[in-house]
Amino acid sequence: MKRISIYILVTLCSLLLLTNGLYAEDNKPFSGEIKATGKLVDIDGNKAKFNEYRDLKDGVYGKIRLKFDDDQYFMKLNAGDIAYDTQNYKLEGGMWGKYKMYFKYNEIPHNFTYDAKTFFSGAGTNRLTTGAPFAIGTPATFTPVNLFDYSLKRKQMEAGLKLEVLKPFYVDVSFAREGRDGIKPTGVAPITSPISFIEMPEPVDYVTNSLKAEVGYEKNPLFLSLTYFYSEFSNDNQRLFFRNPFNALTFGAARDDYLTLPPDNKYNNFSFRGRAKLPLDSALSVKLARSETRSDYNLLDYYIRATGIQSVTLSDSKFDGKRVTANYDVTLTSRPVDFLGARVFYKYYDNDNKSDRITQTDTLVNAGNPFTTRLFDYNKRNYGAEFDIKLPAKFSLTPAYSYLKTNRQRGDLPKTTDNTYSLDLKWAGLDFMTAKVGYERLNRSAVHQIPTMVFFATYQARADVVEKYQRRFDAAPMERDTYKASVDIYPLDVLSLGLHYKNKKSKYTDTVLGLRDDKANEYGIDADWKISNFITVNGYAEYMDTKSSQVQRYSTTAAGLDPNVAGSANNYNWKLDQKGKTYNYGAGVEVNAIPKKLTFNLNYDHIKSDGFSDFSFFDFTPPNNRDISNVDDYRKNSLSLKAKYNVSKNLAVTAGYAYEQYKYSDIAVDGYLYAYLTTPTAVSSLTGAYSAPSYKANIVFAGVTYKF
């Protein structure tokens, strides 16, 4: 692909450059730009994190833009980062007002960790092997060491056609294909007790093909559209087989341990959208949609235990998954008089799970009694209204209300009801200033019940105790208040200043165990000022602080799970306040040292995060040094300086320097070990995924741009 791309581009460039000379300067249909930038990159530290989504290294980066544009036809070609892992191309052409065709190709890398280590052979495949079982109890057995990179790459292609020639009817058709390959980290507990785990490379070899077709009619008062979307996902690896190093049975025996991987699936969505313009500056909009997702997966009827291979009886060796959604949206907007506008909406979304329910019998689960998988599905009914009321003295008021009812097939919180009220006030009484304040209140109520432990019936006694107090935050009853205020000041056309503040507080009213409070504050300022034709400056600063509080119960027995029972060494309540502060600021200056000739750009950005976990223990006092002071602490500094000199109307040269520093500290990776004892007898093994991400990088670049 890379080589072919370069040949095609070079040919096109040559052709267009030659053709360009045939036209007079002022009325040329051809134009373009060719840019080459040489870069020298010096990275000290984690190269993968530095290049997380990019491919910056020593080399020459090419960019080409070609354009043909006359009164009837147009064609554009954009190519960037040619032959690098971030290369992208877009070719489009057509006839003005009649049709348009396009083709796109894009690559997106996602690098996690380079030179990760594993004792397995076969990283990147779906079969990981190792020579001999571990000698339990010593990390020194993790040999040999095989190196690999945790890295994914997406290769996206898309082609499409848009027809407007039949106006007011239109047709849009596009086809897309995305390949994703590479390795990402995964992990397994190879045996259930004693607890240990192995981090290992999971192969990614996905392809997603998509087709979208839309036909429509767009002529006032009507807009009508029918859309069909089909997407097919395929995974080359349905399972990751690995030799369980803790189980000698898998060495020389017929079966390896395995991890199930995402199934192939097919998704289709058919939708109708319509909008009718009505009298009194009103419009009625409707969307009706139905989607269906299907998957199938061949199940294996065994799993590996420390002491052997455990067989499971399955009601069906093949799982057929099917999920059907239906969506109905209706929105009526109206502005019958200039001082009053309204929006009334209704939305119903149903997610119906029609997958197979598989019954399993395992002598070690549920006392050997059969157990059947549960299907999760849900529906949401949402309606509400928003009004826009113009008041005297250039005030405007926006009251709104929304009602949302959710029904879900779930053991603990099957129903929730949200009532949301909001009020926004805006004042634009001065020509140079707009001020806004807003308030929103969410009241969520929920039906709660104690779930039945289907798979582990022996745990029912524990659930009966703890579930009385546990509320899961995604559906727990809550009250949330949000306050916001902002001011935009623009005294001059060349000067603008913005200030904003937001405060959000959530209180989970029925929660005894679980997340109980969540708070966040945001303060921000940004400014742009074109001081003169020579200098433009901009800057921003934002500070965010968050705090969430959760209360949990540690206990080794069912009775001890009751948070009202007095604490002891084996049964006690504990509280965690997770606090985080984020500071982000930046500034930029553009100096036109010689107007239209020489420009300097200087930009600086800084972001810092400081996290803290504050533990408290009730009725029991463990050692006091247990707080975590480094929770995703990091700081990143980015500086760039660029000079651009226009040698002539066609030729420009650029040069510059960039510096980037990222420093990370977190309790989860500080003092990282690749192998260690989990208990005196169990060994765990890591590969280095996400460890030591800090880096410093210096980049020097120089380039030349030729425009024609």
């Binding site: 989504y53 259930t192 909008r275 997340l515 997770q578």
Partner: protein, 305 residues
């Protein structure tokens, strides 16, 4: 109810089509022609002439509707008053968003791209077309700046999130705001381009689509229960740090209820041995298939295979 809706709604559209009386704008005799505008506004005219709006091949373009005056309105009074402020629609900050947008919607109001503009949050916030687009521009979609900087000029809080250490490749230009949100309005909350958040996320993360034999209810209902799509200080765009994020729902005997304090880190040697729960990928060290899986026996419902 649903069947009735399916019949009622198309009928309603037919009815509305019949009753609608279009009120076409009346003609005006106060036009002076683009050549007159060009005499004083040469630079603006030159940029217009290069833009898509000057294409006569497009039947309803300004070039076929009176040029400059198709957007700025009749220019006779403006000429008479020697170009005085307020004598013509100038698209400045003092003009309301609604007034400016209504000019654009005269031509673009029928387009599918703005079919939901009436219901959009941008419209109710008095954002006008020219806040983002320049009529005179020759850039992609006539945008005044590239995404995401254009969107960040109002949504500074999102910019800060996108600067955080765990994020999508928005800064690198590989994902655009417009890939997920429709700035011209959509039916869903936050103008997302799908019927539900998960259906949007699955467009790129199609491997998460399942359906799986073992499903994790909050995952199936809403990705945003655990992830912040705009960026996070915590890995994998998680809203809170693991294992505490998981523990705020899973409290039980054995390890879900243990307070994983500093002593559970690599360097926390108080217990003499290390635990798997806090270090590296935390809960995911073992519960790796948290988005769904096909494990049999006890491995399935615990998402460990």
């Amino acid at each position: 109810m649903r069947k009735n809706l399916l019949i009622l709604i198309p009928l309603l559209f037919v009815f509305l089509f019949i009753v609608h009386i279009s009120d076409n704008a009346k003609g005006s005799t106060n036009y002076v022609g683009s050549e007159t505008c060009k005499r004083c506004h040469e630079e603006a005219y030159a940029s217009y002439a290069k833009s898509i709006h000057a294409k006569k091949a497009i039947s309803d373009s300004p070039a076929n509707r009176g040029g400059c005056e198709s957007c700025h309105g009749p220019g006779a009074q403006h000429v008479e008053k020697g170009g005085k402020d307020g004598s013509i629609l100038g698209f400045g900050k003092k003009v309301s968003g609604k007034e400016k947008s209504s000019k654009c919607l005269t031509c673009h109001g029928e387009s599918k791209h703005v079919a939901m503009w009436d219901a959009s949050k941008h419209r109710s916030a008095d954002v006008s077309c020219d806040d983002c687009h320049s009529v005179h521009s020759t850039k992609e979609k006539n945008l005044k700046a590239k995404e995401p900087e254009l969107c960040y000029s109002c949504h500074l809080d999102i910019k800060v999130k996108a600067n955080k250490q765990s994020r999508h490749p928005v800064k690198e230009g590989k994902i655009k705001c417009n890939d997920c949100h429709n700035p011209h309005g959509a039916f869903g909350k936050k103008a997302v381009k799908a019927d539900a958040v998960n259906e949007l996320c699955y467009k790129c993360h199609s491997e998460k689509r399942g359906p799986f034999m073992w499903e994790h209810a909050p995952v199936e209902e809403n990705c945003l229960n655990c992830h912040d799509a705009h960026g996070s200080n915590h890995s994998k765009l998680l809203t809170r740090k693991m294992p505490q994020l998981c523990q705020s729902c899973h409290d039980f005997t054995r390890h879900p209820g243990i307070p994983y304090t500093a002593e559970y880190g690599f360097e926390g040697s108080a217990r003499g041995v290390l635990s798997n729960m806090l270090i590296a990928r935390s809960c995911l060290n073992c519960h790796t298939n948290i988005h769904g899986g096909f494990g049999v026996g006890p491995r399935g419902p615990r998402f460990t295979r």
